[in-house]
Amino acid sequence: MIRKNYIKIVFKKELLDTIRDKKTLLINIALPVIVWPLLTVFITQYSTIQTLRQNERVSKVVLIGDQISAFSSAILADDKIQSIKLKDQFNWELDLFEVQEESKNVDFCKYNIKLNDAFKGSFKTVESMIQDGQVDAIIVQQSKNIDKITATLNFRLMLLYDSTNPDSEQAANRINNMLETVANNLINERINKAQINESLLKPFSYSINNVADQTKTMSNIIGRILPLILIFLIVIGGFYPAITMTAGEKEHGTLPTVLCTPITHIELLFGKYLAINVITIIGVAMNVTSISAVIYFGMAAFPVNISPMILIYIFLSLIPISMLFSAMFMSVAMFANSFREGQNLLTPVTLLAVLPAYSALLPGMKLNLITAMIPGVNISLLIREILIVPVNPEIIFITLIANVGWTLGILVIAAQIFKAEQVLLSGRTNIGDIFTLDRNALPVPNAQLSIVLFIISLMGTFYISGALIQYGIIYLVPAIQLGLFTMIPLAISTYFKMETTKVFQLQRPPLLAVIGAIFIGFTLFVSTNWFSSFMSPPESYEKLLLDVLQLNDKSLNVIIVFILIAVIPGICEEFTFRGIILSGFINNLKPVWAIVITAVCFACAHFSIYNFLPLLVMGILLGFVAWRTHSIWTGSIIHIINNGLAVIFARFKPESTKLLEKLKLSPYFPMFITGAVLVTLTGILLIYFSASKRIDSVNET
């Protein structure tokens, strides 16, 4: 049994210890408070100065070609463009090197231009002159064409500039504008000369408007950079506490002092883990607050429109990832025997943690079902999307579940490491020894096993669904239900030589409990439907669910659908969730918590935010029933009838998804609801009393 009190004592002590550690305090509190305003002020000032400087700067431009003089007056008129005469410093020549095409009308030639550098005595290409910063841009006349019929001269120009150099880019923009003006003037001149009405040449006019206003553009830029910075700050926020509380304690010899008190290794682990987590989350909160302050006190000179709600979302989305990193850092730092060694071990891990955050910088990356399952990648993409577009709640939910799943997995590993006395007491040990599964070690399931099975179920459901969904429920359901939810728990119980009947609670339930279960099974949908109204799914989602589960697929025999959707899940899911998972949690926690946590696992494994609440309620009820009757069969009856009703309604009364809405209009609606809820409650009472009788009779014997 894990004792909350011990976790609290260790947690409070670690927090106090950390508050007095100047290094952690500096990184988690002082740094965010200072970094964001400073960074903003610096960027703002820098960009303002850069803009001013660039606006004032005169662009140096070289003009090459025999017709280029046409622009001389325009350049002279523009006080921001200065034409550089190369002849004074350079010997330049235009080599006619290739005549590609000759025709009657076209006098086409192409020049290879090399500039003789008088000082260096070598030839340079024009490109290198720009790259060296000697000039900002070069206009080269590439070809000229004299139309022999109209005797007009057309020529082709090439503008050379370096986009990585702001001065060069500025010059290119200025030249572009100038060329456009000159070209327009020339056109107007020729139109006038030919006495053509201008409107004849312009059948329509148009303008281009970018729908992404400056604010959105800014959000886009921030959305790409912010996740990386935030994740980096989380990483450095968790880095020192994780080492101090593990390797640091080993180095100082404080661990044996704590371990000779009546505290278990797991309680110590959780106390420390919570403390690292809270410190990291405080760091995150400080960062988000500091960013908010910068935005709302107008320190940012650029337009950003990030609402407080979005900042709260960003903060919340960072909590799971900081939980994940804390667990990861702790597990690794535990292997170090000194602070220094801890730093050496954790440095590559921090790189591993920050690397996925770069995904937000990649334009092609999108938050989808695959990326949502990858920790780090999912959060950075989520933050980017929160800032730019409205995000689908289902994806947020999957991101959350994925991170919780990963965190739990790493915590299980951390628990295993903490149990290894050689690791705790600075001895050397083989990693293999820590993870060796002793077949006699688990005569009954524990919470750790429950978490492992939950993670297997979660990941298994996700990947098997992804792989088999296209083949329909005929393949999908047996693979998940029989393969994942039945075979794996059975394999685990067999491996650890557990007593199958006891672990899976396979005893026959008392008759009264069976009657109670039937009562609940037929009426439960009324209550769960009410719970689902808190977050009702869009119609498209409901339709998708019906299609995926093939509930209204007339090509499938209804009995087969009933078996696949009601009977098999009604038994197999009970095996995993009310079998091993609930038994494991009950052995380490109070029954009420065990039931609630199992229900959360059950609801999460269905990967739907819209059905989360009704599934949670159903999970709690199924957990209670299994715990009370010591039998998963009671819950199976409820589960089968409940799912079965959904199959029958969908097949024979497709409009029944809206049954309750329709019923709401009926004058008998309150009576119907009250009746259904009363029947459910009667079922619960029947189960409650039937089981207590049975337990009493066992006690009497």
Binding site: G253, T254, P256, C260, P262, T264, E421, L425
Partner: protein, 249 residues
């Protein structure tokens, strides 16, 4: 000096074995410590003293063998054992950034002392051990003697019946060592059972009712100081120890 005659042992160890990665650290030790007595575990470095004491304190799990302390079996009631013992060793350090009072309160809470008892006990220990002048200072700022005093206070805070000390006086100056030695005598007079390891023979001679020689993970002899000297026909414990060890080589 007589060995305890009755079967009222506070510590009963039978055939205790500890193996780390195929290296045998403790190779089958049998040991009993009577109520209100002091037993000294003497042996060279690497003899298995620390491993034995850590197993007794519930920090290490024995590879095999049984340990009973205050009637509790370590295999099934390790938490009860941890409540009944105070453990002090060179390795049991304190948190540098906690004050003396915070340290004692933290360990008192881990030993499940309730709020009122804990406060009373902390006040009492601080005054008994003359620690008031540095009670509000962080451990990191204390002298090694003051820190060791705090560590003893930490080990006896929950008033355990059994005290296990692993080279507790090592690296301490004479005054601090003397303080520990006198504290042990005083604790013994209050009926506490004490098992301690040392390689300072004078300490053992002065304190112990029973001396246990341990070498290469095994007990090679035990008895009162007098018995061991008589047996080896020597006139001091150091010679008796060396002679016994050489006899086993």
């Amino acid at each position: 000096m007589e060995l305890p005659q009755n079967s009222e042992f506070e510590i009963e160890v039978k055939n205790l074995v500890k193996v780390y990665n195929n290296v045998i650290a403790v190779a089958g030790i049998d040991l009993n410590v009577g109520k209100g007595s002091i037993t000294g575990l003497l042996g060279p470095n690497g003899a298995g003293k620390t491993s034995t004491l850590r197993m007794l304190a519930g920090i290490l799990r024995p590879t095999s063998g049984s340990i009973k302390i205050c009637g509790f079996d370590i295999a099934t009631e390790v938490m009860e054992i941890k409540k009944s013992i105070g453990f002090l060793s060179g390795d049991t350090q304190l948190y540098d950034r906690l004050t003396v009072i915070e340290t004692l309160t933290f360990f008192g809470k881990l030993h499940q002392l309730d709020h009122v008892t804990l406060n009373a006990r902390v006040d009492q220990i601080i005054s008994d051990m003359d620690m008031l002048s540095f009670a509000h200072r962080q451990i990191g700022t204390l002298s090694s003697g003051q820190a060791q005093k705090t560590n003893i206070a930490r080990a006896i805070l929950h008033d355990p019946d059994v005290l296990i000390l692993d080279e507790a006086t090592v690296s301490l100056d004479i005054i601090s060592s003397q303080f520990i030695i006198e504290s042990l005598r005083e604790l013994k007079s209050r009926g506490k059972s004490i098992l301690f390891s040392t390689h300072i023979m004078s300490e053992a001679e002065y304190l112990c009712d029973q001396i246990v020689f341990i070498h290469m993970g095994k007990i090679i002899d035990k008895g009162t100081t007098q018995m061991l000297m008589n047996k080896t026909q020597t006139d001091n414990l150091t010679s008796a120890f060396l002679k016994t060890i050489n006899g086993t080589l």
